[in-house]
Symmetry: C2
Subunit: 200 residues, 2 copies
Amino acid sequence: MATAELMTIPARRGKAVRVPKGRLVKMINTHGTQVVDTWAFNADDLAEFMSMEHTRPHIGRTVPRVGDVMYTNKRRPILTFVEDSSPGIHDTIIAACDRYRYKFLGVEGHHDNCTDNLFAGMAELGLTPPEVPSPLNMWMNIPVEPDHSLSFQPTVSKPGDHVLLRAEMDVVMAFSACPQDILPINGVACKPVEAHFQVL
Amino acid sequence: MATAELMTIPARRGKAVRVPKGRLVKMINTHGTQVVDTWAFNADDLAEFMSMEHTRPHIGRTVPRVGDVMYTNKRRPILTFVEDSSPGIHDTIIAACDRYRYKFLGVEGHHDNCTDNLFAGMAELGLTPPEVPSPLNMWMNIPVEPDHSLSFQPTVSKPGDHVLLRAEMDVVMAFSACPQDILPINGVACKPVEAHFQVL
């Protein structure tokens, strides 16, 4: 398994990969500060996909942890969290950023965004997602207080931290190295960088 | 406004209604114990709809309260929370129940569910939603603990409690009086009942 190709999710860009059932995906936060928006689609039916709102009631948590199974919008297992070397802070409640988000944040003209990256990554495989599911935002740190308020905080992961996910069906996974450089979710330097993954 | 027709969301069923921009919708928890899954679609483009994952970052909360604006998946205002006579406990993190949910909960054969109710309610208006957005679950009580765990609890609203929502664009709203009768979200008696609304 040590010889598996190390794939790059370029800074501010998307990447997708086919993962057969039973195989493992190792996602690596190379610099420790990078949020990676993560999607998984049933390879045989892209209208079935990993769903945050369907997963939360089944795992009984808003943040998945090792041992948890992620569910599709048809409530079938699609990924299992096998390992996590980071402190386990990930997010399931925030939408992928998009052109509208950056306009809201005062950006004029184009800004890279995770929604476009999902489509671009899938397009490299000749695929088009039928909709934009709410992503599993790996390493994203969105604390929610008892009064239901939330805030956008830097990652708490270390350089080289990884999570290991097992595919529970044949899937297409898509990743976006989040290009957010206005809010400090990708570290206080607000500098989006690349991340990596391997299919083992 | 007192003469506006009182519309019924029958127990375990769905209902949809067109609401012009600027009009108010008064949702009434007639018996106090009923969760009402609530959707809103842009009447001119059903692919644009109220989105929980897009609203949360903009209101900075997981539960909307009076004064908050709900956003679409294009980050445009679609509904504003104008009044809430209940304690303000609503849910944005749990998917609509569906046939798969009840199979998971051990039900054999058909069980009414909010996802089918969305389609049935919209169908009465000759409409088909292009996807099933995560709903605003009015009065649903899903406490989330500091360790990210969640639980399914009975409503804390009183009979006759209402929320008042203002349409910020021409919308089609859909409601489902949630037929959940296995978990106690619709009161400890697990007895789904009807609710009501008025377009003012």
